[in-house]
């Protein structure tokens, strides 16, 4: 399963950010994602996650479904994951001494639901589905957008790639 974040459809309404806070309310008040077109921050659930590699305690792990999850009992709050995340997508809860990042809504996925952020997104900028579906959609969207003259690119993806794929606008006017 993969998630597509198409920033060209994003209206920066922050429904995803608030839905995520609502979903994880019992955990903490620190936002797990940031959604700004110019600089979206969402765990990519990387194919080769730096946070997993550098975590000294094995608190971060990439599971079968592709999500990079975090297990509190193993975490020492050392912040190495924050430091090494190449996407700046790990936040930190000072009160609990714990990293805070998108975990791809494991409880919702287990019940056959979409992640909370995808369920609310009014414009369909966030989509979730089977690998093939999403990858085909990415190709389709990129083609559509380039036809319209938009200078877009996507973050590293592909079958063995990150679970979260971004479509982004090239910087500069």
């Amino acid at each position: 399963m993969k998630m597509l974040i198409d920033t060209t459809l994003c209206i920066e309404c922050q429904a995803c950010v608030v839905a995520c806070l609502q979903e994880n309310n019992y955990s903490n008040l620190v936002p797990r994602i940031k959604m700004r077109i110019a600089n979206p921050r969402n765990c990519h659930h990387c194919a080769e996650p730096a946070c997993v590699i550098f975590c000294p305690h094995g608190a971060l792990q990439k599971i079968n479904g592709g999500a990079v999850i975090w297990q509190e009992p193993l975490c020492s709050g050392c912040k190495l994951c924050l430091t090494f995340c190449p996407h700046g997508s790990v936040n930190y809860d000072i009160q609990r001494g714990a990293p805070v990042k998108c975990l791809l809504c494991p409880e919702r996925l287990a019940q056959g639901m979409e992640p909370a952020c995808v369920a609310v997104c009014p414009t369909g900028a966030r989509l979730f589905g089977k690998d093939e579906e999403i990858l085909n959609l990415v190709e389709q969207r990129l083609h559509e957008l380039k036809q319209k003259g938009q200078r877009v690119y996507c973050s590293p993806g592909g079958k063995a790639g990150d679970e979260v794929i971004f479509i982004l606008l090239e910087a500069g006017k």
């Binding site: 459809l9 008040l29 979730f128």
Partner: protein, 706 residues
Amino acid sequence: MPGYSLTNYLRISRTGRPTGEQTVGAHNNFKRTICGLCNGGCGLLVKVSHEGTIQGVYGDPQNPWNKGRICPKPMAAAQSLTSPLRVRYPLKKDRNGYRRLSWEEALDYIAPRWKEAREKGGNSAIAAIISKIGGSHSKFILNVFAELTGLNTYGTAPVCYESERKIRISLFGSAATPNPLSDALEARLVILLGNNIAQTKAGQFPWLKEAQRKGTKLITIDVRCTETARQSDQFIQVRPGTDAALGLALLNYIIENQYYDAEFVEKHTLGFRELAQAVKSYTPEWASAVTGIELNTILNLGKELATLKPALLYPGRGVCCVNNGSHALWAFEALMAILGNIGKPGGGIVSHIIDYGKLQGLIPEQLKAKPEVKYSAKELYEAMLDGRIQLFYIAGNPVATWPDTGLMRQALRKVPLVIHHTLFFDDTSAEADLILPATHWLEEAGAQASVHRVLQWREAVVPPPPEAKPAAEFFRLLAKRLGFPQEYFPSAAAAAWELECRYTPAVSGISVLAMKETPGGISYPCRAGETPRRRLYSELKFNTPSGKIELRQQNPQILPVDLPSYSDPLDSPGNDSRLKGDYPFFLSTAKVAYHYHTQNQYSAWVRKVEGPYLEINTDLARALGIREGEKVEVETPYGFLVLPVKLSTALPPLCLFTQPYYSEGGMGLKPANYLYPNAVDPIGGNFIQKNLQCRMLGFGGGGEHK
């Protein structure tokens, strides 16, 4: 639902077929309701614990208006229900602070003083701000009470849509939105004028995206390259306060080139010749110089208006909450009229004014009372300051949301009894003598109107705090004390609606049961025994004196001028062109998707999203040496405020933007309205919240640091 390609919409914007289960899982413990915030009409599913607390708010996949998607506001609204600042019982201010009262004691205090105020000062000695009065039950009871007691009431109109209301009544005889938003699917062109719907009605924005996918051209005309502008097919950037110039020039272009619908104009409008004469000098060349829009862009827009029909106009706060907005609204709505874009599927005007008409015939004439004087919102301040207002009932937060916060505070302090019926202890509570706990729309049943021109019924999702009462109950109890017949004050929302719709022609065919049984609710007008109508003016009958669209207004009671013209924003109320050197920038407030008026400040989640800021053009900031996050003092001739800077390339260098929602009670900040004067558009009467002269101290403005 005839005419909508709902399934296509679902397929295009999602992967696979979304079902309710994908969005919210199994539906036990979920209660269905309709959001009561921006009047988009979004359906919600609310997860409620066994104890009766809200665990989460989700979109309702079965609601055809939002199909399971929502903006962040209802989630935040649910969270704010349990804010520590929620008022849970009546409070009376005394020398030592606040004393808790029972409702009995509160009414014992209020009722005789209400009676006395009217006896000594007349009906107009009492005023009521009712912008946050509550749902349909409270609105109805308040209207009944106002008819019986001659109460002057002020809703959100003065702050939000007064100019739009006056102009549209003048042109068409009614202010209500002529077309539903869903008509966008049938339009070939949609013009968003000073309207950032991607933020203000984010949950409903997909209708415009769907229209786009079907081939509708979406044009945004705005001062900033907003989120809406980015999603549009074309963005036309206009200098602040100059939209009327564009509108008048388009009228000129359409008329001079005879692109107007001559038959429609002849049969259904009045004053065309005078309008044509009035716009003769407003050429596209002139407008190009005034607005900063390239001449070709203006001419092409004119050509598209002439050929892409039907077309919809959807004006927003950018042309309404300004000191010269009436002209722009008049020009553009008249433009739609002469093009024949009225009363058609996909042809007309969309607005978030969604009234369905006044009560007719419920209260017998001999029981009706009238205010001796109806003060305008602007005049109300003076009336308070010099003692003409003896009692003020406030359901709302005017200290933060009405202009000139300092003056409003002073004025309220002069009123002997200020009653604040509120959810939260906010800036206005601090000026009140008596504070009463209100209920929230999540805690109430009622009929909810929508920008799709439908009425949907909601049930309460959770019980209110035990002592909280809606305005419906307050006025029912007060009316009893004052000796008014109780038959006009039903205590249940459903009974109140049945009574209301019986005496409101436009919704007389819409029962509670009918609303509940029809997915997506029922379109209005819907008279008893008739089919619901999706839009107004299909028969091209207008409630104006002539029965036609009155392009020219001959009655000075309706509008003080007879035709639109151009008024420079610097020469309009609140500004002074002579001060241009001292105050070189324009300050505007603009909404964001996660706030609603001042209410969502009380949501901890929303406070995490972003704090208050002063938005400045990136190039300007660089030139002045201001960095992101740096604190800057912004000053208008009326006040100053210190805010952290946020850089943006979306707004022009001349314009500074901030938000209208923050306040001292919520975020410990003086509201932006400390900077704004009690000034209104001279024709439409709307308070101004944008395009106000300002400077940043220490930068490019001259003047001494006070």
